[in-house]
Symmetry: C2
């Protein structure tokens, strides 16, 4: 069905912009029929949606540059998009914006094992990067849950993490260089395959800038040798605080597992009902995975078991085979599916100092009870990256708003204990109003001034990250 655009000013504006884009780009690159642009009206934060003015699907850095140059001249905002898997609304369009997708830019350009690097176009999926090198014994470390679908472009925009980031760091720790197109169409190279570089390091500021400074079309990524093997141990406690203590004790002892995952009682019950993984009915479960050679794995698991035993666990089961490992991970890996069966949910993403886990878990319980809602906690405990899942009913009026208010209170608590608003999902539209909880006006002003330098007209993803009231003077009307 043809969807009529309600606003005549936007309609005539649209015709002019689409004409210029079509002149500058090859056939098939510009999408503007209302029923077709609908496919781009939201990302994985599906509570919000808005069809854009038009969509450009670029196939090269030159096409990205051509699109941006036109939009720059016309003063049209641009919303960059990777695979559209953002949980924070990072690629949510506005009605006056062109969505610029990079999914067609999906080639591997170069692999060098001696330099432990791979150069790719950024539309490639996260998992395809590892796919390109795993036969030769290498892998790309950051592993968001959405890695089968999400694009490296989005990983760079949001500085994505994953279960492995306790040991290997997040995207910024694995990114060596980028080709980035600025809003006026200029193509800039930053960093590269070599170690370090002279002059200012603009790579860090690009990574995690949520598409507000430029559109990254190529990236040089660090690849690492695959460890020989990995095995988990499952540890259950009858108090959350003690599980939190166990996480601290393991890290304090100088053991660096590849992942420490935490599930609280509601999450255990839901996962067990869904997947039947044989989890015990207890207050908190840890899955601690270590990697290396068999001997090395055994030695690390022995030390972890010794630490856990001192805390009187109700369950302690180290894997001795691939089958046992799969059984231990089964419940955890079905967590999001299991939660989906409990109702609608919002997945938060705050980080806290690891030592604050017990206090924050208690605080979340208290807050949740005061709202009369339910919450389940499944998260990367090793680096304090919490993902409280707030369960609500989308069909009950006011329930979404209540869940969002609870989410905001939980994130305020994370900031209060010395943590921050986001670990790996980014700010997007979801958390833009909470930025004032984390930063004072001088901090936000300093950050906006950096955007001023890269994008003086504030056309790139302008309505994201900063509270709208704070960025109002800079954005076009």
């Amino acid at each position: 069905m043809q969807m009529p655009d309600p606003n005549p000013a936007i309609l005539s504006r649209k015709a002019a912009v689409v004409r210029r884009l079509a002149e500058a780009l090859p056939e098939g690159a510009v999408i503007h029929a209302p029923e077709e642009v609908r496919a781009y009206e939201c990302d994985a934060l599906t509570a919000y949606a808005c069809p854009p003015l038009a969509v450009v699907l670029a196939s090269s850095t030159e096409e990205v540059s051509a699109c941006l140059a036109v939009c720059h001249e016309e003063g049209v905002p641009v919303v960059p998009r990777g695979a559209g898997t953002s949980l924070a609304g990072g690629s949510l369009p506005t009605a006056d914006a062109v969505v610029l997708g990079v999914a067609r830019l999906n080639e591997v350009l170069e692999v060098s094992y001696p330099d432990r690097m791979i150069r790719v176009q950024t539309g490639i999926t996260n998992l395809a990067v590892t796919g390109a090198v795993e036969e030769d014994g290498f892998f790309y470390a950051p592993d968001p849950s959405s890695q089968l679908a999400c694009a490296i472009a989005g990983n760079i925009a949001m500085n994505s993490g994953g279960a492995h980031c306790l040991k290997y760091g997040v995207t910024t720790n694995n990114l060596l260089g980028v080709t980035v197109v600025l809003m006026d169409g200029t193509v800039v190279e930053i960093g590269g395959g070599h170690m370090d570089a002279p002059g200012l390091d603009l790579l860090g500021v690009i990574c995690g800038s949520e598409g507000q400074l430029g559109v990254v079309t190529e990236a040089t990524l660090r690849i690492l040798p695959k460890p020989e093997g990995a095995r988990p141990v499952l540890i259950g406690f009858d108090e959350s605080e003690i599980a939190g203590q166990c996480v601290s004790d393991i890290l304090k002892a100088g053991i660096l597992p590849v992942a420490i995952e935490f599930m609280d009682h509601p999450a255990i019950i839901a996962c067990e009902a869904f997947a039947g993984a044989g989890y015990p009915d207890c207050a908190a479960l840890l899955i601690v995975e270590v990697e290396g050679s068999d001997a090395e794995i055994d030695a690390q698991l022995d030390r972890i078991e010794e630490i856990a035993r001192r805390l009187d666990p109700v369950e302690l089961r180290a894997s001795t085979s691939a089958e046992e490992s799969a059984a231990i991970w089964l419940g955890r890996k079905s967590a999001f599916g299991a939660m989906g069966q409990m109702g609608d949910y919002i997945c938060l993403d705050g980080t806290i100092p690891v030592g604050e886990l017990p206090r924050v878990l208690n605080g979340i319980t208290e807050l949740t009870e005061s709202y009369g809602l339910r919450v389940a906690n499944v998260f990367h405990a090793g680096d304090g990256n919490m993902h409280p899942l707030i369960i609500f009913d989308a069909n009950t009026e006011g329930d979404l708003e209540k869940a969002e208010a609870l989410g905001a209170d939980i994130l305020r608590l994370c900031v209060e204990v010395g943590g921050c608003l986001t670990g790996e999902h980014g700010v997007g539209v979801e958390k833009r109003d909470l930025m004032e909880v984390q930063f004072d006006p001088a901090d936000l002003e300093a950050q906006m001034r950096v955007k001023d330098v890269f994008d003086p007209k504030w056309l790139l993803n302008p309505a994201k990250v900063f509270p709208l009231s704070v960025s109002a003077g800079r954005r076009a009307a």
Copy 2:
């Protein structure tokens, strides 16, 4: 002896600035007697020296802020200084500048093992950071050769590395947060002990900015569990190209040693004459060190030996004890002392893709012969960080200039093969004129615009990093 200042305008200016600084700071913090400021006239690039207007030795973030606020109002340039060990002239003063030293800021503020972090004041030495945590089994990874003396402030300014950075990365990969004082005296917190943070990541742009954006007074650093042990293998080849091939083959096989050091024939001969470490007389030596448990070390050394044997080494000696390890490292660790006995030298610092090692080594030999000079190569081969040492005679007129010209040609070659001007020493004054080899005018303009945002008057370390002709319009006369 009282040194008369030759310039009366600077002299009266000096009196005014010193008076205001003395009012703003406690007794003993402001040094202005000509014979006392002499101690700050140069850093470890001793070929250049210039006594500053005055020196401020701050003991707190507040004092740094007070000093900067006065200089900002008076329009006086400020040259920040850590321990003064820069090989690139990063803290070389100018006659009109105040040197702002942070060496008195040397406290450990906080240690958290569960969060694997330490917070320090930045005047602390690199080695003292590890010293604060090693009894508990942790260490701070970046390890510049000057680590006994150099300050964390300088490590952050130059994004310093060291022999361990093949495995653990350079300073930027181990820095979690900073307290930085801007030129107008504003104190800003960036990053912190928690994983990631929302908003723009300004930490990367601060690290390696060579004191041009702000003065970093506190830093949160990543600490890591100490490996159980480490052992090297010494591998000798009768051709440099084959040694380069061996480095590539080890990394390609997915082995990640903690260090791969390379010495060419002139370096071997000099070190052997100096230290008598029992090195063979061959074209190139590799020292490859691996770490972990004993079993893990044995397994890695076996694989490395297997790779090396295929390339027909003239020497292959794996350490089996602490004594043997010390013997293997003895020559390498005396390299700089040994070179000092051969004559005066300049130590370069370029990085290249590891695969280009043979080509660049050949190129260095050809260039050196064409200048009629001698060069020795001792460097971190694993991450392509080369340190050619150019030997010259400071007492022969024109020899320093010839050595500098050769150095510039060698760094041009590094850029030509896809590498860069500096790995861990920074640009400083030493390489500022070579920045145009690496970057085109648009790149340099973009970098200078970032400095504009942090330091609009260009008062912080203004005569560094950028070619003077390029930054002329921005710097005060």
